[in-house]
Amino acid sequence: MSSVPKALKYSKTHEWVREEDDTVIIGITDHAQTMLGDLVYVELPELEFSFEMGQECAVIESVKAAADIYCPISGEVVEINELLLDNPQLINEDPYGKGWLLRLRPFENDFKELLTAEQYTKLVASEAH
């Protein structure tokens, strides 16, 4: 069973969100990285780009698949994880830590739409059937 840290919020499309001061950090879940397999490339947005909730904000590629990352909340990009550009495997190795994707300054508090760890675990279980 893949890990789902209690402290984080989740989207239905398998992204996680962590609040940090007035910004949020976004990544993909352990479940998502397992499904995709060994990642070989990450395409991140440029700084100061703005995204609506649900908009495609990054692309990650494995050998067999390319997956869009949907922005789980609306906001402006203030930092990207540049380490990933040369080391995409960090997402496989440490999806909730060194494998984070980007930091946003949210436009509004739309966290209500996101899932709790418990809800997300249920979602993953239901998708397996």
């Binding site: 060994d38 070989v40 490339y41 050998v63 067999k64 995409p88 495997q89």
Partner: protein, 487 residues
């Protein structure tokens, strides 16, 4: 060893080179090349030996059975290849005068006529250079047709979820949105979902029939009615035309436009990934939009139709006349088959597929659509084996290589888990099919007794299983003598 690693400064293939000359260039120095390109300096024998040896590391139809679903790897007649190399065809410039091109133009014209006849369509353009370009041309014609009627609200192309990846990609290249239509458990398009999806925004639907699931779409006439009533057009993806050649004509099914993969149905060689040929055939209402050039005949004289003759054309898709040499080969193949030979293509392709399916079914393999007849191809799913034996379709495919069979298509269509798509074609003998079935059975036994044998396969090829992750992470796309390639 790479050809570059055999290079020695000052060596060359003397007899092959033009004579030494000293030309004074009146070109300004800043526009001249200063460095030497990285090309090998080797002898003629070294080149011949190097590439002959490389060729022997390939599987090919000439050397192996190639049951690659959806790719129609049938025998490519040698006579056809040789005749395409006749001096008059080979050294003929594409911009020659029409009076100097009547030989080639006669062949192209007659192929247009044959393709009209076998597809049941009213017009043909041979110029698209591959199936995907044919698709592009087809969807562009659908768009041009709607626009010519001032019908600009049609923004959507419907594509069944089982379709080839090129279908949605081509629709998007023509500026359309794609809406997927689900497939029912019997392998047919979900008619109710289709009814719900069509509307004034529907430009058309792209269908393969038989579908990529290896079954004939039984409700095709109903689908045609639903889409036509909504004002949309039907696109036939000719990828699986081999299944019905000489038996059923797309035009009779209600399709308005289609492409034909000459490298599949008309046996032109695949050449390690190309060239292909993707002529388009259309019903009456789309004839004005066909891509140029087209060959026309006035009396006994063949002439090129261009934009001037067909002002509504979607335009030109290739520098000259598409893959003319492929057109020539397909023409020759069609002439060798003749009408009676074409009737047999679908029959024997279907016989071979159903026979192989029956043998594999009897041996315990699971067909994806057990209640259906196979068309010219069929799907085996290894979902059960994956679960119980922890082996994948990939492992089975790689192990088959050890038994000297090319692997079937894997993991396509995407909606069947752990699948192998198997297409034997009509040119394989019963013995070849039996040998393949026996190998499949043996591999299944090995999966039970010694799954590691599969997981580490292939064992007997020039290389063992290759690291695709490393290839993608540490891109090494060109040889650089300065760089260590860490091998």
């Amino acid at each position: 060893m790479l050809i570059f690693e055999q290079s020695q400064k000052g060596r060359s293939a003397r007899a092959q080179l033009p004579r030494e000359i000293t030309a004074e260039l009146d070109i300004p120095a800043h526009l001249l090349r200063q460095d030497e390109p990285l090309l090998p300096e080797v002898s003629e024998l070294q080149v011949v030996r190097h590439y002959t040896r490389l060729s022997r590391k390939n599987f090919s139809i000439d050397t192996q059975f190639y049951p690659l679903g959806s790719c129609t790897m049938k025998y490519n007649p040698r006579g056809v290849h040789r005749l395409a190399f006749l001096e008059g065809f080979l050294n003929h410039h594409p911009l020659s005068l029409e009076t100097q091109s009547q030989g080639f133009m006669a062949c192209a014209y007659e192929l247009q006529e044959i393709l009209k006849n076998v597809t049941g369509m009213k017009g043909v353009s041979l110029t698209p250079m591959a199936g995907a370009q044919g698709e592009f041309a087809g969807v562009a014609m659908i768009r041009a047709y709607h626009e010519s009627r001032g019908d600009t609200a049609r923004t959507e192309i419907l594509v069944p979820d089982a379709a080839h990846g090129t279908n949605p990609a081509s629709a998007v290249q023509c500026g359309y949105k794609v809406r997927e239509i689900p497939t029912g458990i019997d392998g047919n398009v979900d008619i109710e979902a289709l009814r719900a999806a069509v509307g004034p925004q529907t430009a058309g639907i792209m269908l393969t029939n038989p579908s990529t699931l290896g079954v004939f779409e039984q409700k095709i006439q109903e689908i045609a009615k639903i889409v036509h009533q909504a004002g949309g057009l039907l696109y036939y993806d000719g990828a699986n035309l081999n299944a019905i050649l000489g038996k059923v004509r797309p035009g009779d099914m209600g399709f308005d436009v289609m492409h034909i993969n000459l490298h599949k149905t008309f046996a032109t060689p695949h050449g390690g990934g190309g060239p292909g040929g993707g002529p388009v055939a259309v019903s009456e209402r789309l004839v004005p939009f066909l891509p140029m050039p087209i060959v026309a005949k006035s009396g006994d004289f063949y002439r090129w139709l261009t934009e001037a003759d067909c002002p509504q054309t979607i335009g030109r898709l290739s520098s000259f006349m598409g893959n003319a040499g492929i057109i020539l080969r397909a023409y020759m193949y069609a002439r060798l088959l003749g009408a009676e030979g074409m009737h047999r293509v679908a029959e024997f392709a279907t016989l071979n597929a159903n026979y192989l399916l029956a043998r594999l079914k009897a041996a315990g393999f699971t067909p994806a659509y057990p209640t259906r007849r196979a068309s010219h191809e069929f799907i085996i799913t290894l979902k059960q084996e994956a679960k119980e034996l922890h082996i994948s379709a990939l492992d089975v495919a790689k192990r088959l290589l050890d038994y000297d069979f090319h692997a079937p298509t894997m993991y396509f269509p995407l909606l069947v888990p752990e699948c192998l798509l198997i297409e034997p074609t009509e040119t394989e003998s019963k013995e070849a099919l039996d040998a393949f079935a026996d190998a499949m059975i043996k591999v299944l036994d090995e999966a039970k007794a010694n799954p590691e044998l599969l997981k580490n396969a292939p064992h007997h090829l020039p290389v063992r299983r290759l690291d695709e992750v490393k290839a993608a992470r540490e891109l090494d796309l060109v040889y650089d003598p300065e760089r260590s390639h860490s091998l």
